[in-house]
């Protein structure tokens, strides 16, 4: 292998090139000696060396890139990162808020209610805990404010996984929130999130951010734990998820046992908390677009109903009025949230349900007024 190949190599580099050449020759001889049947030529081995070294260099640069600037989709799976948050570890829900101030900082929608937490003259409060079907503008909470002036409607404004939502509810109850009733609004997608991250995967970084422990591969787990490039590659396969082969569209048809176990655990803990505070809980089971308009099954609602009733929750299942609506697409907006009609139908069913089970609901509006 010529050192000077016609290109002008600076003299000061020649000694280093000689060292590199000697190393390659030595390595070539060692490989040939250890694997006499291999009989690779020196040229081939030199090419392979070049290939390996260059590839390793590129991967090393990639590793450095991920360590210096981890992208947003990788950050939740890092044991430690620069991310900060309002949480601390919790054995029951996986996460819990450090303080009321941190909860308020993370949820600006809480601030207007804070004086009411200790206000004895506030009207009876309905506390809604749900995803965007509850707290997005124009959705259930806003519809309730419009049609149920007899109640103070309490809701936060961020989408959170179900464990975080229940942690919020417990924290607020312990901090003085005294609702007449808690409404836990659940859609099939909330249950699907357990397919992505099981309860045992939740943990909190030292900065207070919510993170998830990825499921590790059977082979190469050490690489995934110590190399960000390997971790990124592992997350690209989606095998780091709790149930990697569980597609979101299957949630209507089945709920895996590990997912159900997590839900039961959460419901059990939450039932203890609400019993301690003597606050009744109504689990509102919302159907999704596929269930209403495409005749998908209601397996997830059946499972939730059974588990909720087992711990003493009241359940309001609105599938029947939605599925029997004459113009079903009218109940949804293009992004498959409920429309004004859908929200009014939902609220009417909730009111009708409450009037059947709760004597305190006597002062509530007639559901027929709300019904679209």
């Amino acid at each position: 292998m010529a050192l000077t190949t016609g290109s002008q190599v600076p003299r000061r580099l020649l000694p280093r090139l000689r060292i590199v050449r000697a190393s390659v020759v030595t390595a070539t001889a060692q490989v040939s000696g250890r694997f006499p049947r291999l009989r690779l030529s020196r040229r081939t081995l030199a090419t392979l060396c070049g290939l390996v070294v260059a590839a390793a260099a590129v991967f090393a640069v990639g590793e450095v890139y991920l360590r210096v600037a981890p992208p947003g989709d990788l950050a939740p799976y890092l044991a430690e990162s620069d991310r900060t948050g309002p949480f601390r570890d919790d054995l029951k829900y996986g996460v819990q808020y450090r303080s009321l101030e941190s909860l308020a900082a993370d949820n600006p929608r809480l601030n207007p209610y804070l004086p009411l937490l200790n206000n004895p003259h506030a009207p009876p409060t309905w506390a809604f805990f749900g995803n965007s079907f509850t707290q997005a503008p124009g959705m259930l909470a806003d519809t309730s404010r419009q049609f149920v002036p007899q109640r103070m409607i309490f809701n936060l404004g961020k989408n959170e996984p179900l464990p975080v939502r229940l942690a919020q509810a417990e924290f607020l109850l312990d901090s003085g929130l005294k609702p007449e009733r808690i409404f836990l609004v659940v859609t099939p997608l909330d249950v699907y999130f357990f397919a992505e991250h099981g309860l045992d995967q939740y943990h909190v970084t030292s900065g207070g951010a919510l993170a998830y422990t990825p499921r590790l591969p059977p082979v190469g787990s050490k690489a995934v734990q110590h190399s960000r490039l390997a971790l990124k590659g592992w997350t690209r396969t989606k095998l780091h998820l709790n149930q990697p082969f569980f597609h979101s569209s299957a949630i209507c048809n089945r709920v895996e046992s590990v997912m159900r176990a997590d839900i039961r655990t959460l419901f059990t803990h939450f039932a203890e908390v609400t019993a301690k505070h003597r606050v009744p809980v109504t689990l509102i089971l919302l159907p999704n677009y596929e269930q209403v308009c495409r005749n998908a099954k209601f397996v997830v609602q059946d499972v939730l109903m059974e588990d909720a009733r087992a711990v003493g929750f009241d359940v309001c299942d609105v599938r029947e009025p939605f599925c029997s609506w004459s113009n079903k697409p009218e109940l949804f907006i293009p992004d498959k949230h409920f429309s004004v009609t859908g929200n009014r139908l939902l609220l009417a069913e909730i009111l009708a349900h409450l009037k059947q089970i709760d004597p305190k609901a006597a002062d509530l509006p007639n559901p027929a007024v709300v019904h679209p």
Partner: protein
């Protein structure tokens, strides 16, 4: 909250190696793209099959044509008749043009067909909605979302122009008509260049599909590997990451949520995103073409280093600007009829070029801006100041060159505001936010995301080192350097796959044209 669940279920038992591809074919609603699994699976199968039969020309033509039609019809089988109609008409018209007594009439017939079909599919909603807005009584009131389900066939802008170029070249006798319909169709439909170019001349592709000319070996597999790896990296790691960063700003540019935000960094980033996105597609298309033995022209030559808008159009989407020059600008008279006519031809060419990009008046404005810039540059070039500056050497030359590059880049960015934001009002707001902003918000926001800027630096480093190694390997062919070149190529491809954002990748920007 992403409450949008998939519309159809993918039964688990169908997720076999080949089955998954067919489930995607008939059960999914997403167009196939180079970086998606269905395309990669199809490509692997087609390439291996082609490798086995590559010396049998007829079989190779049949295979590649079938694969191309399958690629195009991926969950859009209803668009296939349109593509086939183009092939039939263009092929037939070219033959008649070559043999007829009145070739011009046949050529014009073919061009008109291409343009009418293109305009019908692309511009009908725009024209009808514009007329409806101009006068309620002119046409009956349109229901809301009247054109919600109107489909523009993918790639129609590109294969229409490719067909026009072919028929006009046959008319001009710069290329013979291809007598074999299947070979012509392959040149028109070949999947690497079908949807988003490059816009090829017959000499660049059709001539290599003619009998006896079909390549039977890949050309420059090393170069092909690097182009594909580089394309994947540009698209998945750089362009998509920039898109994730800047899309929320453009989605809310007229909202109170972006009040006081400085728009210029987002426009810079969009300029980079569209460059990396489109050049990535071209790289991959050229790379896949090389694997089958076809070498196609470059489409980009460091466009943002252009020192004038005229220079920019020699570096940006070069095959389109070449088409517009040769088949539109020159046909209109070019610069042969005096200054005023030259400027008019320039403006018309750019207006139509803008409209070609999309069915929105904002694209017309984009083209008009570029036309105006071209005219201004011509006027400036003839001025004494410009001549004096261009004659300078030394540091004055370099300073002036740098200033010219910066001015050109920002002129292009100004036009991108209308390209990106198709609502005219939003574009004006975006431009206004170049200068109207809160000082406190200038250096904050998603555009400061270090991961995104580092990705750009990473790409620059990889491209530079790959080029350095390539030159070293080409000069002296030391085996270590050759191995290193291949190592960089494979590792870049792997790195692109690893560093791509998790989740569904954004479609190529130019797929919408």
């Amino acid at each position: 909250m992403n409450s949008t669940l998939s519309d159809s279920s993918n039964p688990r038992h169908l997720r076999l190696f080949c089955g998954e591809f067919f489930v995607y074919c008939f059960g999914n609603g997403v167009p196939v793209s180079f970086e998606q699994k269905p395309f990669l699976m199809l490509f692997a199968v087609v390439f291996v099959w082609w490798w086995l039969i590559r010396r049998r020309e007829r079989s190779a033509v049949a295979l590649l044509l079938s694969a191309s039609l399958l690629f195009y019809a991926y969950n859009h089988w209803f668009l296939l008749p349109i593509l086939l109609a183009y092939c039939v008409v263009n092929w037939f018209v070219a033959i008649r043009t070559e043999r007829a007594i009145r070739p011009r009439a046949w050529m014009l017939l073919g061009v008109v067909f291409n343009l009418v079909a293109l305009c019908y599919y692309k511009y009908t909603p725009l024209l009808v909605q514009t007329v409806a807005e101009l006068g309620p009584g002119v046409i009956p009131t349109l229901p809301p979302n009247a054109f919600e389900k109107w489909s523009i066939p993918y790639g129609i802008s590109f294969y229409a122009f490719t067909g026009i170029a072919y028929m006009v070249d046959v008319y001009r006798k710069t290329t013979p008509a291809e007598a074999n319909f299947w070979r012509y169709s392959l040149s028109a439909c070949f999947f690497p260049h079908l949807v988003a170019g490059p816009i090829l001349r017959p000499q660049e592709f059709l001539d290599k599909v003619r009998p006896g000319q079909l390549p039977s070996e890949p050309e420059a597999p090393g170069e092909a590997a690097w182009l594909i790896a580089r394309g994947f990296f540009k698209k998945l790691v750089v362009a998509d990451r920039i898109g994730v960063t800047i899309d929320p700003f453009f989605a809310h540019v007229s909202d109170p949520t972006t009040a006081g935000v400085w728009a210029l960094p987002y426009v810079w980033l969009y300029a980079l995103q569209i460059y990396f996105d489109f050049s990535a597609y071209t790289d991959m298309a050229r790379g896949f073409g090389l694997l089958f033995g076809y070498r196609w022209p470059e489409n980009f030559d460091r466009p943002y280093l252009a020192a004038s808008i005229t220079d920019f159009w020699r570096r940006w989407h070069m095959t389109l600007s070449r088409f517009l020059r040769d088949y539109l600008y020159i046909s209109l008279g070019g610069n042969r009829h005096g200054k005023f006519r030259t400027y008019l031809n320039l403006m018309l060419t750019m207006l139509l070029g803008g409209l070609w990009h999309g069915a929105s008046w904002a694209f017309l404005v984009w083209g008009g801006l570029h036309g105006a810039f071209l005219i201004l540059h011509r006027l400036w070039s003839g001025s004494p100041i410009a001549e004096w500056l261009n004659a300078r050497t030394g540091w004055i030359h370099y300073v002036w060159h740098g200033v010219a590059v910066v001015i050109t880049f920002h002129g292009v960015c100004l036009a991108w505001c209308f390209f990106r934001l198709t609502r005219f009002a939003d574009s004006l707001i975006c431009v206004r936010k170049w200068v109207e902003c809160d000082a406190a918000k200038m250096w904050t926001g998603p555009w400061t995301d270090s991961a995104m800027w580092l990705a750009l630096v990473l790409y620059a480093g990889l491209a530079w080192s790959a080029e350095l190694l390539r030159r070293k390997a080409a000069e002296s062919s030391p085996p270590v350097a050759i191995g290193a070149v291949w190592g960089v190529r494979f590792a870049t491809l792997a790195l692109a796959a690893l560093l791509a954002p998790t989740g569904a990748n954004a479609a190529f920007i130019y797929f919408q044209f």
